[in-house]
């Protein structure tokens, strides 16, 4: 937690100058799909955005469980409570569309954050990590670290999460390009106990048959880092994901080669800014340079960056850099505010 706060404070400091403070009655709700350490940076991001842009509120509201219906219930309740702009990590890219429809038909703009809604959807746009691309880049970095050896294992999250399939495909693609082989995909392990059991069992039996590990979900990255430390194996290379303390420490100690950082703070901060603008008369530019991904044609990459042992102490700077660049041109590039 302390780390996400560090990021948050540092990022807030760099962006104070950007904000123009005039009061607005926009109440933004930042709603993740469920409790997950990835999203904690949104809380500070919302607070900073509310202060910097003079919003009535930008509150981080977590559904108590990872459950589409729990998230829907929370969103409906927030609308009843008077929130009028929503930044949502969709509990399901398809299933959340109808709830988003209800929110927008009540006059509240919706932005998909960190994960996208599937087109057609009422979301103004989707601001998040390009998960497939991140997995692809991570695999490339891993293969670089592995040198000539070519057998990798891939540990990833819940199969019902559509991002999981994107990640599996992306890792496969990157491996094929380099002539490497993905010998095992272990999925459904974005919870600590099954992850612990399956990853340890796999390494116990097959450690000799793999040269590298790519993880593309938070918990498997943590568990695999610990497992490599436990068996004291520095021969197997590994690239993790996100900025959990365990993973960062394993990078410092040399058990893990690097991690793919994402940018949750920037998502929350810029998302809150954009939601307010959209509510107060701005429109999304028709010719905005959106990217496309498997779900939507209105995608904005919030950035991803590879961090290895050399940069692990200053990774906060790396994350700030992405947010700053994105924010500097955001309004000009994506919004049309002629009033």
């Amino acid at each position: 937690m302390s780390i996400s706060k560090k990021i948050a404070l540092a990022a807030a400091a760099t962006m104070l100058l950007a904000g123009s403070a005039f009061a607005s009655d926009t109440q933004v709700a930042l709603v993740p799909g469920g409790p997950h350490p990835y999203f904690t940076a949104w809380e500070q991001a919302g607070k900073d955005a509310a202060k910097d842009f003079g919003l009535a509120a930008a509150d981080y509201k977590v559904p108590p469980k990872w459950e589409l219906s729990a998230q829907n219930e929370l969103l409906e309740s927030l609308l009843t409570q008077g929130y009028n702009a929503f930044l949502i990590f969709p509990g399901d890219p398809v299933g959340s569309v109808s709830t988003a429809n209800e929110l927008t038909s009540a006059g509240a703009p919706v932005i998909a954050l960190a994960g996208c809604l599937k087109d057609p959807s009422p979301a103004a746009f989707c601001l998040g990590t390009d998960t497939g691309h991140s997995a692809y880049l991570g695999t490339k970095e891993l293969l670089k670290a592995m040198g000539g050896k070519k057998r990798i294992a891939h540990f990833t999250g819940f199969l019902v999460d559509p991002n999981t399939q994107l990640r599996i495909d992306a890792v496969e693609k990157a491996a094929k390009e380099e002539g490497a082989e993905v010998v095992q995909v272990i999925a459904d392990i974005d919870a600590p106990e099954p992850a612990e059991e399956k990853i340890n069992a796999y390494l116990a039996a097959h450690a000799g048959e793999v040269d590298g590990i790519i993880t593309t979900a938070w918990v498997p990255a943590v568990v695999a880092s610990n497992a490599l430390r436990k068996i004291g194996d520095k021969r197997i290379k590994m690239v993790g994901i996100d900025h959990d303390e365990v993973v960062l420490k394993a990078i410092k100690d040399g058990y893990v080669d690097g991690t793919m950082l994402q940018n949750p703070y920037g998502q929350g901060y810029i998302g809150s800014f954009a939601a307010d603008k959209l509510r107060t008369g701005c429109k999304v530019k028709a010719d905005a340079p959106f990217k496309s991904n498997a779900l939507t044609t209105k995608f904005i990459d919030s950035g991803t960056v590879f961090v290895d042992a050399a940069q692990v102490d200053t990774y906060v700077t790396a994350m700030q850099g992405i947010t700053k660049d994105l924010f500097a041109n955001f309004e000009k590039t994506y919004l049309d505010c002629a009033q």
Partner: protein, 344 residues
């Protein structure tokens, strides 16, 4: 709430039940206790939370409650036999995904697809029932295993892809508001409840189900085909689960493999809450569709009200637990007090 008191006979909740002289026993039923609690909490939330009675909130509340009620029914019809069906979530998702597949990939007309989805639910229920009756094992362990098998097979066949190409009538049904605040989903749930009540009270099949649950040996002696009846209960449970999932599908506008969580486990808590609060005996032999309906409404209302009161999303669950315990205790106290009065 009366799972302890085996003597609680299903008292007809006749329209005259409201008057003391008409039917004093009605005061002792769970249904009456639940109505009291719903009224009391409704008043508390109306006073403390603004917008609790706003049309949108009532609509949203009703829609969530409808799904919880239906999940409760799907479990109740098996609890009646003294068994459990842990696979309600998994069967439901299979039914909805099959329906989505038929519409999107095979292009079948939607009414036919719905029927086939329900049929698949009944079929999977048949597998459960058949395995339970033939093996003599407890339905707990059978449905624990089939939950894994059904859900796993569904994920394997669909590769966890959603079916989104549904005709607009589904999402229109899911988002429609009658009189500004009633969801059609709630009406479906109420209708199913009425049909179940009629079945248990007035049909031979329904009474056989209750008899097979209460005293299987006695029922078998008096000519009830116990095995066949239990299989029938599981089939009914399967098709009700599929119907529930179809309602969720209408609400979300798509058939999603994760609609009931991993392995369909997210449905387990609501599946037990409604029937148990409503006074369905876990040991079998008694069913209360009205109680299940009211129990699910009460739980949904508590969640909704606590969210509106902003007790903090993370404390909602703790408060819900305390209120549940409190509700159960108050109901217990009320009935023993009334029973005491009657004796005196």
């Amino acid at each position: 709430m009366s799972i302890d008191s085996h003597s609680a006979t299903p008292t007809p909740a006749s329209p005259s039940g409201g008057r003391v002289s008409g039917n004093p026993r009605f005061y002792l039923t769970n249904e009456f206790g639940l109505i009291c609690l719903i009224v009391v909490f409704g008043l508390i939330f109306a006073l403390l939370a603004k917008n609790f009675f706003s049309p949108f909130n009532l609509f949203a509340l009703g829609r969530v409650a409808a799904v919880n009620v239906m999940i409760g029914f799907a479990m109740m019809v098996v609890i009646v036999t003294g068994g459990l069906n842990l696979a309600v979530g998994a069967i439901g998702v299979c039914g909805a995904m099959f329906c989505g597949f038929l519409i999107q990939v095979l292009g079948l007309p939607w009414p036919l697809a719905i029927l086939l989805g329900l049929a698949l639910g009944a079929g999977l229920g048949f597998i459960n029932g058949f395995a339970v009756v033939r093996s003599g094992l407890h339905s707990f362990i059978i449905t624990l295993a089939t939950m894994s098998i059904f859900f796993g097979a569904m994920v394997f066949l669909t590769r966890a892809e959603s079916f989104r190409g549904l005709p607009p009538i589904f999402s229109a049904f899911g988002t429609a508001r009658l009189f500004g605040f009633v969801s059609p989903l709630l009406i479906v749930a109420a209708l199913v409840g009425v049909l179940l009540s009629i079945m248990y009270r007035y049909t031979v099949v329904g009474r056989e189900m209750l008899a097979a649950g209460a005293k299987p040996e006695a029922a078998a002696l008096s000519g009830v085909p116990v095995g066949r009846t239990i299989i029938l209960c599981h089939m009914l449970s399967g098709s009700l689960a599929a119907l529930t999932a179809l309602l969720v599908m209408a609400r979300n506008g798509a058939a999603i493999p994760s609609m009931a969580g991993q392995l369909g486990q997210d449905w387990l808590l609501p599946a037990f809450l409604g029937p148990v609060l409503g006074g369905t005996l876990l040991s079998g032999g008694r069913a209360s569709p009205l109680g299940t309906f009211l129990g699910a409404i009460l739980v949904t209302m508590l969640t909704n009200g606590l969210l509106l009161l902003r007790v903090g999303e993370f404390w909602v669950q703790a408060c819900l637990g305390v209120l549940l315990l409190f509700a159960v205790l108050v109901d217990k106290a009320r009935r023993s007090y009334l029973a005491h009065l009657k004796v005196a």
